[in-house]
């Protein structure tokens, strides 16, 4: 390259600079959604989430009793494996910036780090909502196929299930993001996310003194009612308390840690 410059670019310092406005949260959320899909790892994670739903519904078509093949019974089982993968998406969206060191670029472009974090959380919540839509769509296909191939194919569906599914998947993806924010390291966050709640479940079962608190703090138990019908006040309270511990606290502490951390 030589030092040829276009006539329009004769000065670096024009009087007024259009577009030197703060990027909106909407724009930043769009950027974060793009980052979820623009690498092979991210794309395959999303594809896997979609395929998992399809595989579960297919298995049910083949093996479930014809009488049980309703819309709801196709929809609900697909939530659980997706609910395992969504936290990984939440973790990666946060920790990839640090393991790939792109935080250096991201936070140089947006020095108000809290805005990037809000955008990331919004992006993964949108991904969780999209996963619920995928589950609904695949379950619908399953119901149609079931009806056409001699299964029940009934369109039975309790609206409470949809709300429950949304709460379940959004909570899952945000718990992952919280662990990512807290630990800022991909393998550490994934291992901690998979291990800690399980260990806590086992300990809660084994130690009699912990039976009562476990009913309020073990997300495995507090989330279970989400798969059946609408929750009563006590169940919502237990769910809320457990999410406060496993979701809100990691996010709050993690945000503080990210805001103070040196980016190198």
């Amino acid at each position: 390259m030589t030092t040829t410059t276009a006539p329009a670019a004769t000065t670096v310092e024009p009087g007024r600079r259009p577009g030197v406005r703060r990027p909106s949260l909407l724009r930043l959320t769009g950027v974060e959604l793009r980052k979820l899909t623009d690498t092979r790892a991210g794309l395959w994670l999303l594809v896997t989430i979609g395929l998992t739903t399809a595989v579960i519904v297919t298995l049910q078509l083949v093996y479930a009793d014809a009488e049980d093949q309703t819309y709801a019974s196709f929809f609900v089982p697909s939530l659980l494996p997706v609910g395992l993968l969504l936290p990984v998406l939440g973790i990666l969206s946060i920790t990839a910036e640090w393991s790939q060191r792109t935080a250096l670029v991201t936070y140089a472009l947006v020095p108000r780090r809290e805005r990037v974090i809000v955008a990331k959380l919004a992006a993964v919540v949108l991904a969780a909502l999209a996963s619920v839509l995928t589950s609904l769509a695949v379950a619908a296909i399953g119901t149609l196929v079931s009806g056409a191939t001699g299964g029940a194919g009934r369109w039975e569906f309790d609206e409470a299930l949809l709300l429950n599914a949304i709460v379940f998947q959004v909570a899952n993806v945000l718990m992952g993001a919280g662990f990512g924010l807290l630990l800022l390291n991909t393998p550490l966050a994934i291992v901690a996310y998979l291990l800690l709640p399980t260990v806590w479940s086992i300990v809660g079962e084994l130690v009699p003194a912990l039976h009562r608190p476990a009913g309020w703090l073990d997300t495995g138990r507090t989330m279970e009612p989400l798969f059946s019908t609408s929750l009563d006040a006590d169940q919502w309270a237990r769910l809320g308390v457990s999410l406060l511990v496993w979701l809100v606290v990691p996010i709050v502490v993690g945000v503080i840690r990210t805001l103070r951390r040196e980016v190198a």
Binding site: T3, V12, R17, R22, D38, Y107, A108, E262, V263, A264
Partner: protein, 296 residues
Amino acid sequence: MISVEHLSKRYGRHAAVDDVSFRCEPGTVTGFLGPNGAGKSTTMRMICGLTPPTAGRATVAGRRYRDLPNPGREVGVLLDASAQHAGRTGREALAVAASTMGLDRREVAAKLDLVGLDAAAAKRRVRAYSLGMRQRLGIALALLGDPRVLILDEPANGLDPEGIFWMRGLLRDFADRGGTVLLSSHLLREVEAVADRLVVIGGGRIVAQGDKSELLAGGGTLVRARDTGALRRALDAAGLAARDSADGLLVPAETEAVGQAAADAGVALAELRPADGRLEQLFLTLTAESTKETGK
């Protein structure tokens, strides 16, 4: 414009940066020089709001970095060319940044073209890039928002000689059009060719700063002839004191005066050049010290 006022950064008892102050004016290239580990990168990260300073403050274009509404449009930053997602393509890395800044997508292609990354290179993932290509991508990223200020940490690392020559032209041109450039290096020769001003840092403290010509001057003239005795007599006759050095005779005078003295006496010269100034000496000492420290 960049203004750094009494910046300090301590890690426990270790002072990585200790009371550093300097200014970079529009239209100039400032070379930020120092051996590895002298505190250059930490200072630059503090300017860009990535490392919280222990004391002091820095402003860019009159504002703290974190108060710039859309920093990429005002300051182009390249702190580490390797800090890119290995799984993204070069084009995608720029597209993400362009989208963050709210730039037209055409800027991406224009800047890729400017730094000499062709369509095939832009489509490859950064994982497959050489360090030189990553530097070019990093420079494209820094220039993407058409900023008025550039902050570049060791941008010549990994570039081939042709690439270094190209980058000097680019930075000189940027400054000549009114831009402000701060670039760091651990090699004096690398910034000497392009910088107007130099800030030299060692052990976290500024040890010298000023115009390049001032800092580099004052070393006298080095002169060599096949007949050293005749040269010495010629210099004596002209009233110039000369002392021996490893490369020839060292004369505390301008090259012109020394050359004239030799010509007047009819002595044929083998070499005549400005001797290394006190900056070179200072820099050599700093580098030797830091090598000793890391060797400990």
